[in-house]
Symmetry: C2
Subunit: 140 residues, 2 copies
DNA sequence: TGCTAAATGCAACGATGTTGCAAATATGAT
DNA sequence: ATCATATTTGCAACATCGTTGCATTTAGCA
């Protein structure tokens, strides 16, 4: 699906920043940080604009915010666009990359009465294959 | 178990800040943010000192950092001290509180070869019972 | 009591994220 | 194609989180 199409389906204006973000995400297939997106995008936008775009896209369920650490936040496309199943996120503490990991099932969590769950996030933190090879690298 | 005892077991100096953090955590039984801890503690310490204490305690496995959002970070005592089982964390988007929720099981996640997992964090985001009562409150 | 390694306070800094307001722009109606 | 307008953007300023370097203080041991 094309970026402009996704936006119009949600009655959102097809602005340069939104198109750029979505194009990049579709192309990359990975969760990306604001920083990574800003660096890779040819056209430049103010940081404020990026954050507002993320918020809008998130509110419409087009993208999701993945918080792996207080200073490590990534965004990824919704499953409906990528055709992925429910999955966990693996965060490599060495190279900072976030990867989607298929899981048999995200457990059904029973919360006390009157509690409402809007999001369930399963984050795995460790060392990816490439960084595991480099024996010397220490993880906090 | 007493704070000083916990620290000495790990060969850590019993400093005012560390004692204060642990005492407060043991007493409260809840995950607390740096801000909450600083406000509740009678003696005052520099923010740097808190962050350095958290880091040290975390590295020794005495406490754990729970990141629910980029600007919402809490710390909680290790299970070995609280005698709790493995659990998920419920984050109320309205009142910002973090609660431990028992889960049947955190799923065994199969990661690709050579990947190493150090931490598994299951975070549920929603509205707690008290905040659910207040119908008017909107969640982003 | 005194030594010393470790912990603290302070100042400065970097990154993430937000808000208010004026200028620019996407889009639907003409 | 042009216009009107609600929306989006850029800029400046700000808040919070978290880190680093360095001088001072302190916990714990001899």
């Amino acid at each position: 699906m094309e970026s402009a199409e996704i936006l119009s389906e949600h009655q959102l204006k097809a602005t340069g920043c939104r198109i750029g973000i979505l194009d990049l995400m579709i192309e990359s297939g990975n969760a990306l940080s604001e920083n990574e997106i800003r660096e890779k995008l040819e056209s430049s936008f103010d940081r404020t604009t990026f954050y507002r775009s993320f918020k809008t896209l998130d509110e419409h369920g087009i993208i999701h915010k993945i918080v792996v650490d207080s200073q490590v936040v990534k965004y990824e496309l919704d499953k409906s666009i990528t055709n992925r199943k429910q999955h966990a996120h693996f965060y490599c503490k060495v190279c900072d990359a976030v990867q989607c990991i298929d899981v048999a099932e995200i457990p059904e969590v029973v919360v006390p009465k009157h509690y409402k769950i809007y999001e369930v996030e399963l984050v795995l933190k460790g060392k990816c294959d490439k960084c595991s090879e480099m024996k010397s690298t220490r993880v906090q």
